[in-house]
Amino acid sequence: MAKARALEKRRGSIRNIRKITRTMELIANAQFKRAMDRVTAASAYTQRITELVDDLAHSGLDVSHPLLEQHPETDRAVMLVLTSNRGMCGGDNGNIFRVAFGQYEHIVAEVPNVEVEVSGKRGISALAYRKIELQKTYTHFENQPSYKDVEAVANGLMDRYVTGEIDRLDVVYMKYLSSSKQQAVAETLLPMGTLGEDQSELDRGVDGSGYEFQPSVESILEEVVPTSLRVQLFKCFLDSAVSEHISRMVAMKGATENADEIIRQLSMAYNRARQSQITNDIMEVIGGAEALKS
């Protein structure tokens, strides 16, 4: 009976694990939907900002802003890595690290001083393991990063860029392309270069010159540029949150299926063991009876 009991015990523990992975899958699914709603809401805002920029571009303005300009010397760069606080999400964090290490080497080769900032416990431990010095760490960006928190980070970085303290900002994060494809990317947010690629599509039908600008086009522009940077960074945070949930969903679905498979195999082995045990017992009883008869 020993073997059958051991199998039964193992099957029980696999069942428990399956329950956990299945629950995690469902939770990840629910959180993914909520995170996706936030991305949709944010893109409504982004779209309106883009329209506004279009209208500004119609007014024939020469776009210039400290955030758009490259500093004459790139002396100090900041690399911000967005990872998750929790594990159990498949290759999500691993892919980000791979890109982050590559980008780090790349920046170190170009820029004398590099500061690394990390969001997420996973990233903190991985980079600390690699002995990369972390200037700042954030762990308060949970499943749903709030705009207020992201804004604070963005404002801090922008202020430092404008005052010339830093000359470059790179963000490494998981970009959400579609629900079946996410990609770890490194993007340079500062200097911004141009205000999006919308400069070329000036034929939107609406004539922007019909607008009255208050107080002035320059003043509006002064505000549009930082806003679009803040929104870009917010988008990065939202994307990485969505990607984390998707990866976790996929990973946990796989884990649940594997657990099912193991349970099936164990059940089969258990039944066999049990049956052979019963056969053995019967044989023994029959053997005993035969022995008594003679």
Binding site: R38, L52, E212, F213, Q214, S219, I220, E223, T227
Partner: protein, 151 residues
């Protein structure tokens, strides 16, 4: 005769707009669409002073300051605190793009006072730093005045 007709048409048009006159106000923040409502009149804090918008206003793009936005429909006035951003008026649709929009009652005056005190302590030795400080001060003062309007 044709002139009279023309006049009558204009009268009709004006009456028509007056009867169905209402603005559609959409307030969008990066996190969600806070408000999408019909209203009669909107007052907003622009960067260089307050602007009032009634139905039929000419198209406008404006830069918002920190302060309270008032929406009047009938006899009721709703007050919100808006945290910078932009306003776009096209036709009778007013789109407010802001970082944060909350009813004034939800603005915390104690936190705002604290923020003002912190902001005033910021250095202002270079033009850039001065700009950063001015923004922080304006934001704190806007919150304070909005909170005052609530009480």
């Amino acid at each position: 005769m044709s002139l009279m007709l023309c006049h009558r048409a204009v009268d009709h048009l004006q009456n028509g707009t007056r009867i169905m006159a209402s603005l559609r106000c959409i307030v969008v923040t990066p996190e969600k669409t806070v408000l999408d409502a019909k209203t009669d009149f909107i007052a907003l804090p622009l960067y260089d002073g307050e602007v009032g918008i009634a139905p039929g206003r000419a198209p406008l793009i404006g830069r918002l300051a920190y302060g309270q936005m008032r929406l009047r429909s009938g006899d009721t006035v709703d007050r919100y605190y808006v945290d910078g951003g932009f306003i776009q008026v096209t036709g009778n649709v007013v789109t407010v793009l802001t970082n944060r929009a909350v009813p004034v009652a939800e603005v915390d005056p104690i936190a705002a006072r604290q923020q003002l005190a912190n902001a005033l302590k910021l250095p202002a030795s270079t033009p850039e730093l001065e700009g950063i400080r001015d923004r922080a001060v304006a934001q704190a003062r806007g919150q304070l005045s909005a909170a005052r309007a609530a009480s």
